[in-house]
Symmetry: C2
Subunit: 576 residues, 2 copies
C-alpha cells in the first residue's frame, strides 16, 4: 500500500474521552472512529488488524473440525421465549419491532438460533458430535459503553456451539476448544492465560476464560508460579494453612477499645497487627418463607483477609445474593455495635475461614460495645465449629494444585469456553435418537472469542510511549519503507519502488510511506501505528550503499547493505 493513497488518519492529541491506552491509541493511530456511544467505524488501518485476527481465528477453528455458518443478527422473540431468556435477559438485549409490530432482538449471542437449527438438522447420534461456529456482528446494549472497542455495543465475535450425544463427547470437544483457543492466542503473539471461571448468566456446569494479561485488565487472575494453574481470583481456592494450630500462650482478657471501629484501629490501639485480629461479619441466612424474622449468620475471617462474596454465596447456610446485616439488624439480634462482635459467646451460627481458624492468641470483638478480647484461643475459649474457605486468595498463597505459590495479575477476558450441558436442548426440545432409538436431549458446549476486543487487548499488552508495538502476526503492515525526499530524489524513489515490489512479491504486507511529509512526521506516524519493521531510504544512505533499518522496539537503528536488505528483513520477520 502507498501511504499517499491510503487513509493515514493519525492524531497528535489524545482524545479527551478515551480513558484507557488502547482506546487512545486506536483513535490516535486512525484505526477507529466513534459514530455514537459504543458504535465504532473501523477505518482501513484498523480493519486490516481486525481481519488478520479474524483470519487466524477462522483457520484454527477450521483446523479443529468446526463448521462455519452465518446466522442472522436479527432474531425472532419466539425462540427467546422458548428458552426463557426473553424475560430473563436484561436491558442489554436490544429488543425491536419490525414493520408488522412483531418482536425481534439484535442477537447478543446465538444459543437459541443454533439450537433451533440443531433440532431440525441433527437427527441421530450418528450426526454427532457437531461444532458450528460463526464470526459475526453482535449487539449488547451496555448501560455504559466505554473503552472504545473493548466494551462497545456492536462488536465482532466468534461464537461456536457444539452438540453431543454424551457428556464424554462434550468433554472431548471442550478440551479441543481449549487447545484451539490456546493455539489462536499463541499465533496472535499474545501473553495469555486460560483460567477457571464462573459460568455467570449463560448457565452450565463448567467454564474457562482466556485472558490477555495487561495491567489495565478488569479481572484479577491468580496463577501458580510453578504450574499451569490459573483462576479468576473470585474462584481460586485458598488452602487451609498446613500443620497444627500454634499452642495458646496468653490468657483471655477483656479490654476497653473506645471508638476503635476498624480492624486497623483496633490492631493499632492494642499494639498488634491486623493478621492477629478476627473480623466477624454478619450476613443474612436463608429465610423461612412463612417467617418475617431475618436469621443471620457470622462469617469469621482474619483481619487482613478479604471476604470472597462468591464463596460465601455458594453456601447453603448463607442467603443469595450475599447481604450484609444492617447495623440495626445487628443491634437487634446481638444488642451490640457491629465493630465489637466476636465469636466468644456469639448468639448466631458461625462459619470460620481456614486461616482465621489457624490463629492462636488472637484479638476479637467482645460482644460488648466498645470492648475487645485479647489472648483468645479456639476450643479453649470458644468452640471452633465449622471451618471453610471464605476469603480471596492473595499473592504468595500456596497454589491450590499444590505446586508453587500464587501470583496475581490483571487480565482482559477475550475468550470463554462453557459446558452448557442440556440447558438449551431441554428447554427447546433439541433431541436426537441414541443408539437404542431413544430420543435424548443433546449435550451442548459454547465457545466465544471477542474478535474486535482482541485488537484492543493486544494493544493494552503491546505499547510504549511512542505508540503501538504490534505482534507481527496482527500488525496492519509488517514492513514500512520510508523515503526521505522521495518526491525530489529520483534515485530514492526508484530504490523504494523496487524494494516495495520485491517485498510485496515475496508476500509481505508493506506500507510505502511516499507522503510529502517531513521525516519526523513519518517516523512518528509509523511508530504510533506500530509497524514492526522500518526501512529508511535516503540519498545519503544510497551513496554509502546502505539503507537504514529499525525494528519498532529496537533501541537503535542500523545500516544494512542495499543488496542484503531482503535477506536481512526475511530473517527479522521470521524471527517475530
Amino acid at each position: 500500500m502507498r501511504a499517499s493513497q491510503y487513509l493515514i488518519a493519525t492524531l497528535k492529541e489524545t482524545p479527551a474521552d478515551a480513558e484507557i491506552v488502547s482506546h487512545q491509541l486506536m483513535l490516535r493511530a486512525g484505526m477507529i472512529r466513534r459514530l455514537a456511544g459504543g458504535l465504532y467505524t473501523w477505518l482501513p488501518l484498523g480493519l486490516r488488524v481486525l481481519r488478520k485476527v479474524e483470519r487466524i481465528v477462522r483457520e484454527e477453528m477450521d483446523r479443529s473440525g468446526a463448521q462455519e455458518v452465518l446466522m442472522p443478527a436479527i432474531q425472532p422473540a419466539e425462540l427467546w421465549q422458548e428458552s426463557g431468556r426473553w424475560e430473563e435477559y436484561g436491558d442489554e438485549l436490544l429488543r425491536l419491532k419490525d414493520r408488522h409490530e412483531r418482536d425481534f432482538c439484535y442477537g447478543p449471542t446465538h444459543e437459541e438460533v443454533i439450537t433451533d437449527i440443531a433440532r431440525n438438522e441433527l437427527k441421530s447420534y450418528r450426526d454427532l458430535p457437531a461444532n458450528f461456529y460463526q464470526i459475526q456482528t453482535k449487539f449488547r446494549d451496555e448501560r455504559r459503553p466505554r473503552f472504545g472497542v473493548m466494551r462497545s455495543r456492536e462488536f465482532l465475535m466468534k461464537d461456536a456451539y457444539s452438540f453431543h450425544a454424551s457428556p464424554e463427547s462434550l468433554n472431548e470437544t471442550y478440551q479441543l476448544m481449549v487447545e484451539t483457543y490456546s493455539a489462536i492466542f499463541r499465533r496472535l503473539g499474545l501473553d495469555f492465560r486460560a483460567v477457571e471461571a464462573d459460568s455467570g448468566a449463560i448457565g452450565g456446569s463448567k467454564s474457562q476464560e482466556f485472558h490477555v494479561l495487561a495491567s489495565s485488565g478488569e479481572d484479577a487472575i491468580a496463577f501458580s508460579s510453578d504450574s499451569d494453574y490459573a483462576a479468576n481470583t473470585e474462584l481460586a481456592e485458598a488452602l487451609a494453612p498446613e500443620g497444627e494450630r500454634p499452642t495458646a500462650t496468653e490468657t483471655m482478657q477483656e479490654v476497653a477499645t473506645p471508638d476503635q471501629n476498624t480492624i486497623d484501629q483496633v490492631a493499632g490501639f492494642l499494639n498488634t497487627t491486623p493478621d492477629r485480629v478476627l473480623k466477624t461479619l454478619l450476613v443474612h441466612a436463608p429465610k423461612d418463607e412463612d417467617s418475617s424474622h431475618q436469621p443471620l449468620v457470622a462469617l469469621v475471617l482474619r483481619g487482613d483477609h478479604t471476604l470472597n462474596d462468591l464463596k460465601a454465596e455458594r453456601r447453603a447456610d448463607v442467603a443469595e445474593p450475599l447481604t450484609m446485616a444492617s447495623d440495626e439488624e445487628i443491634r437487634k439480634a446481638l444488642g451490640v455495635d457491629a465493630g465489637s462482635i466476636g465469636p466468644v459467646g456469639l448468639k448466631v451460627p458461625m462459619i470460620v475461614d481456614h486461616a482465621a481458624a489457624h490463629l492462636a492468641d488472637f484479638v476479637c470483638g467482645a460482644n460488648r460495645t466498645g470492648y475487645h478480647l485479647t489472648g483468645v484461643n479456639w476450643e479453649r475459649d470458644v468452640a471452633l465449629g465449622e471451618t471453610a474457605d471464605l476469603r480471596e486468595v492473595e499473592e504468595g498463597d500456596p497454589s491450590p494444585d499444590g505446586h508453587g505459590v500464587l501470583g496475581i495479575q490483571r487480565g482482559i477476558e477475550v475468550g470463554h469456553v462453557f459446558k452448557l450441558g442440556r440447558k438449551y436442548s431441554e428447554a427447546m426440545n433439541a433431541t436426537v435418537l441414541d443408539e437404542n432409538g431413544k430420543s435424548v436431549p443433546m449435550d451442548m458446549g459454547c465457545y466465544g472469542i471477542g474478535v474486535s476486543r482482541l485488537v484492543a487487548a493486544a494493544i493494552e499488552q503491546n505499547h510504549d510511549d511512542s505508540g503501538i508495538t504490534w505482534p507481527t502476526a496482527i500488525a496492519p503492515f509488517e514492513i514500512a519503507i520510508v523515503t526521505l525526499n522521495g518526491h525530489k530524489s529520483e534515485k530514492v524513489a526508484q530504490t523504494a519502488e523496487k524494494l516495495y515490489d520485491q517485498l510485496r512479491q515475496t508476500g509481505y504486507d508493506v506500507l510505502l510511506d511516499d507522503r510529502k511529509e517531513r521525516p519526523g512526521v513519518k517516523f512518528a506516524d509509523l511508530e504510533l501505528i506500530g509497524i514492526p519493521h522500518r526501512v529508511v531510504i535516503s540519498d545519503r544512505g544510497l551513496e554509502a550503499g546502505t539503507l537504514e533499518y529499525k525494528g519498532r522496539t529496537d533501541a537503535d537503528k542500523q545500516d544494512v547493505a542495499t543488496d542484503d536488505i531482503i535477506r536481512f528483513l526475511a530473517a527479522r520477520v521470521i524471527a517475530d
Copy 2:
C-alpha cells in the same frame, strides 16, 4: 472436507413455500435455512459459496484502489435527520430505540455514515479522490420478503462510496467501478449485462445496473444484437420509424362498433390488426394549485404498443405520478365512453407516440360512444401536433445507438453504480478546501453489489433438473471424490484418502464423500449441490486401473487411468 464430518443437509422434497428455483435449490441443497420471514441462516455449504463470492469482490475492489472499512450496522437517527432521509425513507427503514430511548436504525445503506466520516477525515483536495468500501450486513424491512436470499430482509452487501474534488474525478472513478464490476462478474463466471438505469430513490444524476441474465429475473433488459448497448426496458428509447409516413389511400368513414371496447375487439370487428388501430389514453395533466378542475391530456399509441409510464411521467405536461383518467372524468370532459376516444375532434391536448404518428389509413375512436373512424390520416383528417417517445421498446426494435436490433431478456439486478453528485455532501456540509483554499462540497459516487443475492442469481442462471451447476469459481467444492463401498473395501478407502490428500495439497477444494450411503444417494446429493467435477472410486474400477470421472454438466461419465487422474483434473478445472 469429509462428508461424514460435514453437514450435508439435502432435502428430497421441494419446500412448498419456495417459489423460485434458486430458493428451492438453496433449501434442498442445504445451503440456507429460514429463521423467520426474510431471515436466513447460511449453513456450512452455503457459506462456502458466499465467502467465495465475497473474496472475489474484495480482491477486485482492493485491486481498484478502494480502501476497505467497516461501519456499524446500527446508526444514530441524527445523521439521517441531517440528510433528510429519516422522514423520507419509508417502512423499509428498521427504526429502533436503545435502552436510553434514543433513536437508531439498522442501516439499509451507509451514505450518511460515510459522509460523516469523510467530512471529518478528508480536509483538502489533496486527500481526494478516495473510495471507501465495506462488505457488511444490512437490513431492509421489506413488506413482503420472498425468494429466499434473493429478496431477504437481512443481507450481505458490498457498498462503496467515493469522494471527489470535481465531477471529472467522479467520472473517472465511476468508470473504474464499472470496469471493476465487470471484472468481478466475469470472475464469478456469470453471464451479465451493464445496463442504463433509473436512479430511483437514492437520487443522483446517472446510474447503471448490473444484471445477471436469467429467465426468472424481475427486470426486463433491452440489449442490442450488435453492440454493448443495454438498458432497462423502462429507460430504453424507442426510435421514431425511419422514412416518410405512407401516403393516404382510404377515405375517412365513421362506422358503428357496438360493444367493441378493446383494441383487439375493434380490430377483429373491422377485419384489421391492432397495429393499425390507435389507442388513445387519457391521463391527468398537472393541476393549477388554486383550481379544483383536473385537466387531462391524451397519449396516443399504436394499438399493439404498451405505454411506458416513466417516459410519460417525465413530461412536464403529464402529472406525476402517472394517473389514468377515470371513466367518469372522461365522460365529464368529453361526453363519450373511454373505448371510443380518438384524435379527430378531441377536446384535450394530445401527444402522439412516434410509431402512431407514422401510420396512414388507421382506425381510431370517433369520440362518439359505440363508433370508430376508419381510413384516418394525419394532417389530412386531424392535425398531428406534438410527437414523442411514449412506448415500451419491443424485440426487433432498432437499437437506440444505431447498431443492430433490440432483444429483450430478463435479468436479476446484482449491482448498481451511481453518480450521487453533491446530494449528501451539501446536505451534510461535507466540504474540502480546493486548490484556491476555498471550501467546496465533495462530489460523490456510490457503488453496491448484493453479495448474498449474487449466490441466488448465480443459481437462477446455472441449474438443471438435477440441481445446481455452479461456475467453478464459486462452487462450494471444486471436486468430489466418491467412494463406493469405502467402509468395506480397504483399497477403495486408501485410494480415496491418497487422492484426497494429493488434491488438497495441490490447492483444490475437495469433498470426500465417505458417507455410508448408497451410491445413488451420494450421486444425487452431489448433483443437487452442484460440485463441478466428480471422481468415483470403486473396486471394479481399481481392478481395471481406472477411476470414473464425470463433469457436472457432461452427458456421459468416462474412465480415467488412476495414474493420470491428477493431470486430468488439473486440465478440467483450469478450463472452467
